[in-house]
Symmetry: C2
Subunit: 690 residues, 2 copies
């Protein structure tokens, strides 16, 4: 890795929170429900061996003297050069894993552990063991360890961990009890330890560390809170830590909910006590998950991106409970904060099916009951459920507007297909046939709606969407690729969306057949065949299929192959074979792929994948997905097509300036440009299928 100072999320599961760390300066710390890092100073450091001065990891910037606000005629404080310094970058190494992140520098080692575990289904019958499992899993804390190697030193040395204020409303404070000490802000953010230590609040870390009298560590006007540890001479000591979050009040409006963890914890001190009590269990789970996700058949770049993406996903996860006691699973859309955006749900599907399939059902039913609507073609689904903790009114997303042909237009067809793909994968992979049966009427309605969006006159259908929703009021529907050009942004006649329609029809055929709906199964199969033929027919003499068919478009797009993922995860490898029923379609896509994967077409100069030949905006989540399709389904060699590309993709994410944004999706010419701090990169979980 060329740059190890990139930000990463260290998040509890479902707490919509992160202790973000890694980018230099005042760029991280504890945050909750945010569009980006908390941008506060984090202090992790230790007294020098010779004593009397300190070094700290470089996650802070030198501040003003806060005391000047109170004493306006006071002179500027003297420069304390040498008293409290940043540890030099060259002295620092980092060991980054899916469930841990370790910084080493001289005598100091600091690790944060974030869990990656399945969330139990809260609606399954609860035994005591289940409750304990739930409580450990959704505990709104990440644990940590601060190790100081003081062997060979004849002095007691002081070490510290803490941060500056994050939000305005509440002051910094100490938590003091016989069992543990804590330092943090209000009731929302605090670090705790049950080792012997002190908690201190002051204007700055230098102010605290230079106090002659410990009574002055209780100076609550300060904006800095630290835990302070004394490391005895000639010892090596590891201090357990719990970085805790708590939001106990109403969490969302529109639909009123609270965090599910409030069932178990009534304040942050209880979170801390439990985190420290279960420290060893949690650490073991993290180490075990590190192993599970440490695939030896992956390149270093694949491992890094998978782990980084998973960490970011959990930052956006928000596990809620409504007034009727029902669980509500929300994945927020990174910096944009839209809630359960349907076109992200379908990409995160693979990860959620692996981790906790019940969340997929939860999202699907919530869409059905609250965020579906009908237009001239029939039933479909909203783009999202709301934004920034505000659920929108029933049947209305926060995003979609009428009268548009680009960003913020309706995604009626895209979301219909996405809901169907999620539903079909859920039924197939979870084995929840009861739900599949109960939703049959809805799934038939969805199918009919798809047919009508192809064409209301059956004879004129070609398997591809050609009707824009009346919701657009004369505008045109778009796809999830809302900020790309027409090549991926326009829904009508788009081969990206057509490929997903084909996949949905494939899934529907089997679903209807299994459910005894023979006639519908045949009809679905017919639509799949028509769709595949239509697309294959458009393979041109230059060896590619134009992104938008029959509309004078000549863009070349990688996501032509995206839809193939669904038959694969539905267990329908038969339809993916070159010598199978859809062989002509598959061969056309392979030809298309080979043709376009050329530098300047669908490869950037740095070797990274360029989703569209006509846009500089490329999305990593979709690159991961298409990498999987190309390698695992179409059989393209990772050595040739992905290996160097992934090196470029890692450079994008570890850019010395833009890696402030943790895992991010939209990359314009190598620069993180939008969809920052984003959950969608867990499409990389598909690589573990390979």
């Amino acid at each position: 890795m060329e740059n190890i100072f990139y930000n990463a999320n260290h998040s509890p599961i479902g707490a919509y929170a992160s202790f973000t760390l890694g980018f230099p300066g005042s760029s991280g710390g504890p945050g909750m429900e945010r569009t980006g890092p908390a941008d506060t100073n984090v202090y992790i450091g230790v007294e020098r061996r010779e004593g009397g001065s300190y070094e700290s990891l470089p996650f802070f910037k030198g501040g003003e003297d806060e005391g000047k606000r109170y004493d306006v005629e006071k002179k500027d404080k003297e420069e304390q050069t040498g008293y409290f310094d940043k540890i030099q970058a060259v002295e620092i190494t980092r060991d980054f894993r899916v469930c841990s992140d370790t910084w080493m520098a001289g005598d100091l080692t600091f690790t944060l552990y974030n869990q990656v575990e399945s969330v139990p289904n809260p609606q399954e019958s609860q035994t005591d063991g289940n409750e304990e499992q739930m409580k450990i899993t959704i505990l709104p804390a990440v644990i940590g360890e601060l190790t100081i190697d003081n062997r060979g030193c004849k002095r007691t040395r002081r070490a510290f961990f803490g941060f500056d204020e994050v939000e305005a409303r509440y002051g910094m404070r100490r938590f003091i009890s016989s069992e543990m000490k804590g330092a943090g802000q209000g009731g929302a953010f605090a670090v705790f330890s049950n080792s012997p230590c002190n908690a201190a609040v002051g204007f700055c870390p230098e102010c605290i560390l230079s106090e002659d009298d410990r009574d002055n560590w209780e100076f609550n006007l300060g904006k800095t809170a630290l835990l302070i540890f004394d490391v005895p001479a000639d010892t090596k000591v590891t201090f357990p830590l719990a970085v805790c979050f708590y939001h106990g009040a109403q969490a969302t409006y529109g639909i009123e909910t609270k965090y599910y963890y409030t069932n178990y914890f009534s304040k942050i001190e209880e979170v801390a006590a439990f985190a420290l009590e279960k420290f060893d269990v949690i650490k073991s789970r993290c180490l075990a998950a590190n192993e599970r996700f440490n695939r030896s058949d992956f390149t270093e770049e694949q491992r890094f991106m998978l782990w980084h993406a998973i960490k970011s996903y959990y930052n956006s996860s928000q596990f809620l409970i409504n007034g009727d006691g029902e669980p509500v699973w929300v994945i927020n859309e990174g910096e944009f904060r839209m809630m359960n955006t349907m076109d992200l749900t379908v990409d995160q599907l693979f990860f959620e099916m692996k981790m906790n399939p019940w969340t997929v059902k939860n999202e699907l039913d919530f869409y059905l009951h609250h965020y579906s609507y009908e237009d001239q073609c029939g039933l479909t689904f909203c783009h999202d459920m709301g934004v920034a903790n505000i659920f929108t009114r029933e049947g209305k997303s926060s995003y979609e507007k009428c009268g548009l042909t680009d960003c913020f237009s309706y995604m009626s067809h895209e979301q219909l297909v996405n809901w169907l793909c999620c539903a079909l994968v859920y039924i197939r992979q979870s084995g929840d046939l009861q739900w599949g049966e109960e939703r049959k009427g809805i799934i038939i309605k969805c199918f009919e709606s798809m047919l009508n969006r192809d064409h209301p006159v059956p004879e004129k259908r070609n398997g591809v969407m050609s009707i824009d929703s009346t919701k657009t009021k004369g505008g045109a529907e778009i796809t999830t690729y809302d900020s790309l050009d027409v090549s991926l942004g326009q829904a009508r006649n788009n081969i990206y969306l057509a490929g997903k329609c084909w996949a949905a029809y494939i899934g529907l055929e089997e679903y209807f057949a299994a459910g005894g709906e023979e006639k519908l199964a045949v009809q679905a199969a017919g639509q799949a065949a028509g769709c595949a033929e239509t697309i294959a027919d458009h393979l041109n003499e230059n060896g590619y299929i134009p992104a938008v068919m029959d509309e004078d478009n000549d863009s070349r797009i990688i996501p032509a192959i995206e839809g193939l993922v669904f038959p694969y995860v539905l267990g329908r490898k038969d339809v993916l074979k070159e010598d199978g029923k859809y062989g002509r379609y598959i061969k056309a896509l392979k030809k298309h792929f080979v043709t376009i994967m050329e530098s300047g077409i669908c490869l950037f100069e740095d070797g990274g994948w360029k989703l569209s030949s006509t846009s500089g905006n490329s999305w990593l989540s979709k690159i991961y997905l298409c990498e999987f399709v190309a390698a695992a389904i179409l059989g393209f060699d990772r050595e040739i097509y992905m290996k160097d590309a992934d090196k470029a993709h890692v450079r994008w994410l570890t850019h010395p300036e833009h890696s402030y944004w943790c895992w991010s999706d939209q990359i314009v010419n190598g620069i993180i440009s939008a969809s920052k701090y984003y959950p969608r990169g867990v499409t990389s979980i598909l690589w573990m299928e390979g």
Copy 2:
């Protein structure tokens, strides 16, 4: 007034909230529990008569196109010059009152009404009428009116009122019901009206107003929320408004409380419904209070400063209820946010005694039970109860540190005297003799503590503090004037503090006498006499008393006279007479005052009062208090001593740059420099005693 564009608070009573407005640009809006204005854009405007474009009061700045975050390759939007403009300053007039603030420009008139009413004692027996009174008084809303004069215009014109996002966690939203519409953020801030209107959310006001289709007013990604009114042709219409605040969750930590208003309102919609239902009652109360505070015997400057200060005081007011159902009254310390700072409480005493005396008892008992301590001299009180919604542990302020001789040192003596002065005034003015009797033991302990701080050896006492608390651990105590130099900052031998000690002894003498404690009464009288003699003895040949006696200090300070206020409000005018028992002391102070009120000594070049000859830092709250003492007690002519000075004081508060900070206290050479956004200016209520 040279500059009408100064910020002012428009605050509910006890909600620790303000709709701050008046300073140009993105400088106000709805805020809660803040160190300063909310710094958002506020939109108050109307379509031009010719139609198709808009003008808005200048309380916003043009923003970036927020849509670019979602569509990164989008071009910058075109300049919309002429479509949405600021109303020019020259066209605007302002009518500023204690309970109203009106902006007039062309066809537009906009008024905010904030109540100034007594809060009923929640611990007195409640009748239904009382409950209603309480509910109206502490309603967390200010009401408003938007009037558009569309007479003579043949078109329907659109008017609007709203604001941009204030805090990060929650999205902007619309509130739609059959009774009213609202536009705001999360569950905390919103403007409502029960007139026919629409609510809209969008990226910017131009974006909203230029939408062709009203369906697109439901675009919840936007950062702007507006109420939109249609004004029919040839009519003049006034739309009632309610600007509402709500914080329903736990409000403070350390000691857990909620806002008292949560007893009556469970969410912001309920606040709005009640505010609009009681609109006429509330407006009448505001107009009546405007009259009460519109004293014809005041100069324009006095009226302005009194009203401005009262508005700021209520911004800092926080009426809470603890877990046992007990009321907790907190005045936060402006930008510093310390809670019930004792040396502010004593200055705000006069206002609170006039408005709601029970709050003084509430503060005194809370100090006694939670924030008192003993040092080598006996009982005293903390500087404050905490900061930024965090109550500190019992017996410890957020502010005081050991080992210091200036800012942040202990104020053990200052706060002891302050508590006593508050208690004695409360007992005397409220007639709550029961409390006076119940607290006798405590008051005796306070008296003993004062004696010990004079000198532990009775024979060596001179009525003046000479012993620093052991809490300072070798440092020195300071006074409320913590950021001034030694002349007012040092407690020991300071004539400011000595003057307050004299006042406390005067009050104690009467309290003890009335309580049958003759011996203590005599002892208190002796201390008063000793104190007065000591101070008078230090009147030097140059006609002034040095600020610090017997310590080589030669500063001249106005607050030498400050303590005289207490005998006055205790009804002891006898001790304030030149021919009375303390005549020599009174005459010395008069001589001192006359001597120092010279330009370059205790007058700035602009004529404003300079509290200390050796500091450029002057505090308006104390100037007001000392103006009252000089005029009403010592008989100095307002025309000579205060009239021009007050013009300077008003210029300080309406400074074209620094008046951003609403009413503020610490002025360094004419510039608002600290203690910004501050409650203490209600010392000006004393002027109404005159």
